[in-house]
Symmetry: none
Subunit: 238 residues, 2 copies
DNA sequence: CAAACTTTCTTGTATATACAATGGTGATTT
DNA sequence: AAATCACCATTGTATATACAAGAAAGTTTG
């Protein structure tokens, strides 16, 4: 336990307080390295370290020859959140409907067993759900579930709630991984999604964890013409 | 134009190369600050800066009194950062090459004029660059540039640096927006990317801002079979 | 033998200095 | 009036130095 905070942390807090209090708004210039030297009674290198860290944290934007500025507001990006497709559709003012295509218990493949930390051929839950937006198919959700973390999965009524809602209720989402690719879907997916001839599919593979335990492996197929993924963000420089 | 790479970047690359080559695996100890001083012929503060940055990037874990260690595997979140395709390819151990397909000045469309806050039919810069990974086309980059924020765009040699590098040097990136969709590409794109019959294309539309001024509107086409976008993240609750 | 101390190696904090590179301003020159 | 130049403020890179603090291993001492 150190009785006195580091000096560079004092400088950081000084700048952060100014931003929080509204003294410096987004886009405003904050004190330069040399100004902080006299304001906070530290060396330039110490002041510099504080500003650099705030820069790498995305709080400030620094430009050589000009100065350091408060970065613009951060926007949430829908790519980063696990959004519930039901509320996503309803928020856009449309009607959501779900159709259960399949619900079963399958023996785990080697890959799934490794992911879920179970033995190969142990049972895993499997579901295929087709989501509609105003009677038009918008997402085909194929999902494999870890029976350890979500033992009652098969008993859920997914016309009422989505798998997402159930899973987040039994196992809080602590981590997720997305892989996005463009494919030409196989026939079954093509038919279920009512795709046109030659329409591409946006496939998002999503793995979710809860406290270092993998909960679910999902493949979400979207019609390329009818679905877009958007994200808006403020970068953090390294 | 700097003729020689910064020293701290050389040290960073030295460590990164050792990790990429497998010399140091996850959990292994990398050279200490003082060892890097003699290995790379730099001062301790410079070696330190390299290790610190690798630490803040999550590549290394540093422990006082013990040393610096290669962090456990972490997936890059390329969706969240504006990554330079050149370094992205090189970091994966491949060779990057760029071919300038077109470089011109065009009259702005109504949409571009609105985005760039200029008058319609005012000139904007336009470039089409094809990026190769080991002689295989991996990204077709079509880009419209705001001439106000990047007036010297046409004079750049994009065989040396990428548009990304130039743009971030003249106008620090403060915000970005991505839209991702799956399409079946038109013939020209199809041919340039050497696509197979019926191969889908992952199209990322990216708009970047610098201090509330739009700098660039880019369309990045990727072969669906050869390119994946990945992201891994921890949801923040605050 | 075991506890206490010392040494050594490591990263962490703090400072002083020097020069480079960029952007803006204002004076000077053309 | 326009172009050029000099100057200044700002961030960026690089080095040298000093001391602090934690971890580990060896050495001394009881």
């Amino acid at each position: 336990m150190q009785k006195s905070e580091s000096r560079y942390l004092r400088v950081k807090r000084y700048v952060l307080d100014g931003i929080k209090s509204g003294e410096w708004m987004a886009g405003d210039q904050v004190p330069s390295e040399n100004e902080l030297v006299t304001l906070c009674q530290v060396s330039r290198m110490t002041a510099r370290r504080a500003l650099e860290e705030l820069n790498s944290e995305g709080i400030l934007t620094r430009v050589r020859g000009k100065g350091s500025f408060v970065a613009e507001e951060k926007h949430q990006s829908s790519l980063l959140e696990i959004k519930n497709i039901k509320t996503e559709i309803q928020n856009a003012g449309h009607n959501h409907k779900a159709h259960l295509v399949e619900m079963s218990e399958l023996p785990a493949t080697v890959e799934l067993a490794e992911l879920f930390e179970i033995n190969p051929k142990d049972p895993v839950f499997h579901s295929i759900i087709l989501h509609y937006e105003d009677d038009q198919p918008i997402q085909l959700e194929e999902r494999y579930i870890n029976p350890v973390t979500a033992p009652n999965y098969l008993e859920q009524d997914f016309k009422q709630s989505t798998p997402n809602e159930y899973l987040t209720s039994v196992a809080p989402l602590t981590e997720a991984e997305h892989i996005i690719e463009a494919i030409v879907a196989e026939k079954q997916v093509h038919n279920l999604l009512h795709l046109d001839q030659d329409e591409a599919v946006l496939l998002m593979t999503r793995i979710t964890w809860s406290f270092n335990k993998a909960v679910s492996y999902a493949r979400l197929y979207h019609p390329g013409k009818r679905y877009r993924l958007g994200s808006r963000f403020t970068p953090v420089s390294s």
